[in-house]
C-alpha cells in the first residue's frame, strides 16, 4: 500500500462518514455523522481541510452542485469515496482488527 493511503484518525472518521451518508455527502451531513458517532462537536472547517487532504491523496473526489437559496445562493460541494479510498478504509479496518485481536484486555486495569 502506498504511504499516501495510510490514514490519520480524523481522516478515517471522515471517510467512514462519507460511506454512511452516501450520495448526498457534503460538509453538513458528514460533520453531523461524525458528531452523532463520536458525541463531540466537529468544526466544519476541519472537515473540509481533511476532505481537501483526502482529495489530494486521491481517496476522495468532489463535484460542485447547484447554488441554493437556503445557502445564500452558494453551491454545495458533494464528495464521494474513490476506489483507492475504499481500499484505504479496508486496510485501516484490517489493521485495527488485527491489533485489537492481539490486545490482552483481561489483564488491563482502569
Amino acid at each position: 500500500m502506498p504511504r499516501s493511503e495510510f490514514l490519520g484518525g480524523f481522516e478515517l472518521l471522515v471517510l467512514l462518514a462519507l460511506l454512511r451518508v452516501g450520495d448526498e455527502a457534503y460538509g453538513v451531513p458528514i460533520a453531523e455523522a461524525i458528531e452523532e458517532s463520536s458525541g463531540r462537536d466537529v468544526a466544519l472547517g476541519s472537515v473540509y481541510v481533511t476532505l481537501g487532504r483526502l482529495e489530494d491523496k486521491g481517496l476522495v473526489a468532489s463535484q460542485v452542485g447547484e447554488p441554493t437559496a437556503v445557502r445564500g445562493g452558494r453551491a454545495k460541494t458533494y464528495f464521494r469515496i474513490t476506489a483507492a479510498g475504499l481500499r484505504a478504509v479496508r486496510h485501516a479496518q484490517r489493521t485495527l482488527t488485527n491489533l485489537w485481536s492481539s490486545v490482552p484486555l483481561k489483564g488491563a486495569t482502569s
Binding site: G27, A43, G45, V49, G52, R71, G72
Partner: protein, 212 residues
C-alpha cells in the same frame, strides 16, 4: 428570536480569509446551518475554527516557506527598528513639550515614549507585515500569521524576562502591568494591520462570484 441573516462580519471574514478551495461550500454550509437554528455564537466559533484550520493546513504544507517568511520578517523588523528608534528619540523632546507633562512621572514617560519611539516602531512593524504579505501573495494570511505570532511570543518572553529581573522592592502597579501587556500586543497587531492592508490589494478568487 433568531435572525435568518447570519452575522454579516463573520460572513465577510469567512469569505475573505477561508482557503479558496472550499470557501464557497464552507460559507454555504455555515449559512444553511444558521438558518436551521444554530446560534450566532456557533456561527462565529465555526468561522474562527475554519480560518485557523485553513492557516494551519497552509503552514503544514509550506513549512520551509513559513520559516523563510519569519526570517524575512525578523530581518526587516531588526533593520527598520534602528532608524525608527533613532527618529523616535529625536522626536521625544518635541513630544514632551507638546504634552506639557511632568517628565518625572511614569505616565509622562510612558506617553512620550509611546507617541515618539514606539509609534515609529509600530509603523516599522506594519511595513514589515506589508512586505511579508506582498512577497507571499498566494499564502499571505498564513505567512503573516506565523510571523506576527513569532513576534508576539518574543514580546511576551521579553516582558516576562523584564518582570522577573525587577527587584522585589520595586513592585509594578496594575496600571504599569496593563500598559506593558498592551505594548506586547501592539507590535504584532501593527504587523497584522500592515499585512492586511497588503492583503486587501491581493486579488481574491471569491470576488469572481457575484454578490448574493
Amino acid at each position: 428570536m433568531s435572525s435568518v441573516h447570519p452575522p454579516r462580519i463573520g460572513t465577510w471574514l469567512a469569505e475573505r480569509f477561508l482557503p479558496a478551495a472550499h470557501r464557497e461550500s464552507i460559507v454555504g454550509d455555515l449559512v444553511e446551518q444558521f438558518r436551521r437554528g444554530r446560534s450566532g455564537w456557533w456561527y462565529w466559533r465555526q468561522v474562527c475554527a475554519a480560518i485557523l484550520a485553513g492557516i494551519a493546513q497552509d503552514l503544514a504544507a509550506h513549512k520551509l516557506r513559513a520559516v523563510g517568511a519569519v526570517a524575512l520578517g525578523w530581518t526587516l523588523y531588526y533593520a527598520l527598528s534602528f532608524p525608527a528608534t533613532s527618529a523616535g528619540q529625536a522626536l521625544e523632546p518635541a513630544t514632551r513639550s507638546a504634552l506639557a507633562c511632568d517628565p518625572a512621572s511614569f505616565s509622562c514617560q510612558f506617553w512620550v515614549n509611546q507617541l515618539s519611539a514606539e509609534l515609529l516602531i509600530y509603523v516599522a512593524a506594519a511595513i514589515t507585515g506589508w512586505i511579508v504579505a506582498r512577497l507571499h501573495r498566494a499564502h499571505w494570511l498564513s505567512m503573516l500569521s506565523v510571523y506576527a505570532a513569532s513576534v508576539l511570543v518574543f514580546e511576551c518572553a521579553a516582558v516576562i524576562w523584564f518582570m522577573a529581573g525587577r527587584p522585589v522592592l520595586m513592585p509594578l502597579s496594575p496600571v504599569v502591568l496593563m500598559l506593558a501587556n498592551l505594548t506586547v500586543v501592539l507590535r504584532p497587531v501593527s504587523i497584522f494591520a500592515g499585512g492586511m492592508w497588503a492583503g486587501r490589494a491581493i486579488p481574491n478568487p471569491q470576488s469572481e462570484i457575484p454578490n448574493r
